[in-house]
């Protein structure tokens, strides 16, 4: 009986800590917005009740999401990344790297939200038809091109760690391709393409990809995990820009 009580106590303490940290994510924004509403705009928020309920849902949702990731996906994913790095088969390692980038990006919450919003904006400005299926397929296409690019980015980043290529040549080359693509891409896609770079890598992708990078670098001789383990995220924020502009070229021209 005592034992069960103890477990219950630690569990609830755990959940409370998680809720707290999700609330802390939201707190700075709430403070800034509250300050502006009270002292600068001096008007009540028009839909306060909805905003409060929605914020509560965001906090609970994010808590559950992160908790579930830590329970189910992160431990297995991390041990898998390390086991594959140790196994030494380059084929499986690269395949895993690609699929990991792809699959984590598909589940990335911020990207889901932004892609949907972008579809609605595109429909409002008459770029695509204003029907629900068309908007949904535009958003899905956007997400899949980002996911594909992140997959390739993680693959290239893994190769870089294996071969020891210097990162800055690849990044600077990537910047040049971004600028070149900007010249050809339809202007309506450039903004969302540039944003896609920052959106892709947050809650799901970063921990798993970082585990892969650091695991790899710590197994290869002569590599410093602190130095060579980084750089995977950098590719994952660069390639989406190129691929989304490519998607725009394919779609609007």
């Amino acid at each position: 009986m005592n034992n069960r009580l103890f477990i219950l106590k630690t569990l609830s303490g755990f959940a409370a800590r998680k809720l707290w940290s999700a609330a802390m994510d939201l707190l700075p924004i709430v403070l800034v917005i509250g300050f502006f509403q009270m002292f600068v705009i001096r008007q009540p928020l028009p839909n306060l009740a909805e905003v409060l309920i929605g914020s509560l849902l965001v906090v609970i949702g994010l808590t559950l999401f992160v908790q579930g990731l830590e329970m189910a996906l992160f431990p297995v994913g991390e041990s898998l990344a390390q086991a594959l790095a140790r196994k030494g088969s380059i084929f499986w390692l690269l395949l895993f790297a690609f699929l990991l980038g792809f699959a984590t990006t598909v589940a990335e919450p911020a990207l889901i939200a932004i892609a949907r919003e972008s579809g609605e904006i595109a429909a409002q400005s008459g770029l695509i038809e204003k029907t629900e299926p068309v908007i949904a397929s535009y958003a899905l296409g956007l997400r899949l091109s980002v996911a594909l690019s992140v997959g390739i980015a993680i693959l290239v980043g893994t190769l870089r760690i294996l071969r020891g290529w210097p990162i800055h040549y690849l990044i600077i080359g990537g910047y040049m391709v971004v600028m070149l693509m900007t010249v050809f891409a339809p202007p309506e896609i450039v903004g969302i393409a540039y944003d896609a770079g920052g959106v892709t890598t947050s809650t799901v992708t970063v921990p798993l990809v970082a585990a892969l990078g650091v695991g790899l670098a710590s197994i290869i001789k002569g590599r410093n995990p602190l130095l060579d383990g980084f750089g995977l995220i950098a590719f994952a924020s660069l390639l989406p820009m190129i691929f989304v502009m490519g998607y725009g070229l394919f779609l609007f021209r």
């Binding site: 579930g68 600028m179 995220i233």
Partner: protein
């Protein structure tokens, strides 16, 4: 109520579809490539249910609160009546009048970045990599200032209507130049920090702010001008991390000369 429930059911189905690939990847590799049994299946199953429900709730809350909030703030702060203090005022075109927007954007950027857990992790690693020359809190504030200036500049760009690529091009040139002068150990870390500073909560609000702004400022088109704030927020940390590392290295050199 029924409609809301149906909508949530719909979102739930979609999030299940979104989570499926990553689950298939991990289970598939574990069973068929490594040929090892999956341990603690029940714990994993519960975790996956958490992930699906959490994602669905988060997305629902996002469309209920965060998106409208960002857009409402942008609309209120760029309302002609608010800007001029006169009732039934005409739309304002001069970018100087929109200073509250810039301040708001900077504050949102700063406050969300300073508390960002992944940035704290990056700062800790930078401290280690640099053998202690980089101060953790110094770096955190440098990055937060970078994001604040970046987002404020991004809102200025939307109000002013100048093309996004010019700003990004200049940013890239600065990054490339810095790359040749910054301490070598910090470069990969700095490049990575661009991607990690924008969290799942910040991204929707900042994006909605830009889109709302492009909707209310006269002569702007949301499709053309609304996006780009997140690009600013992920470019500037690269510059500020390398800049801070350069500053720390320079300070270290000066101290050793004395």
């Amino acid at each position: 109520m029924n409609v809301l429930f149906l909508e949530f059911w719909h979102i739930l189905l979609e999030t299940t579809r979104d989570v499926l690939p990553i689950l298939a990847l991990i289970v598939g590799f574990q069973l068929f490539v490594l040929r090892q049994p999956l341990l603690r299946v029940r714990r994993i199953a519960v975790g996956v249910v958490y992930v699906v429900f959490g994602l669905a709730l988060f997305l629902e809350g996002l469309s209920l609160a965060l998106f409208p909030l960002g857009k409402t703030m942008a609309a209120q702060l760029s309302d002609p009546e608010f800007l001029t203090g006169v009732q039934n005022a005409l739309p304002v075109a001069a970018w100087q009048e929109y200073y509250w927007i810039y301040i708001f954007a900077a504050l949102v950027g700063f406050s969300t970045t300073v508390a960002e857990p992944s940035l704290i992790a990056v700062a800790y690693k930078a401290h280690e990599v640099s053998a202690g020359t980089i101060n953790m809190n110094g770096l955190r504030f440098a990055v937060a200032f970078g994001v604040a200036i970046g987002i404020a500049l991004g809102t200025f760009r939307i109000v002013h209507g100048s093309p996004l690529y010019v700003y990004i091009l200049v940013g890239y040139v600065i990054v490339v130049v810095q790359t040749f002068f910054a301490p070598k150990q910090i470069i990969a870390l700095a490049y990575d920090s661009g991607g990690v500073t924008t969290s799942t909560v910040t991204v929707p609000i900042v994006a909605a702010l830009g889109l709302g702004l492009a909707e209310t400022v006269p002569g702007r088109d949301p499709a053309l001008d609304g996006f780009g704030l997140i690009a600013f927020a992920s470019l500037f940390p690269i510059i500020s991390v390398m800049g801070y590392a350069q500053y720390a290295a320079w300070k270290g050199r000066r101290r050793s000369k004395k």
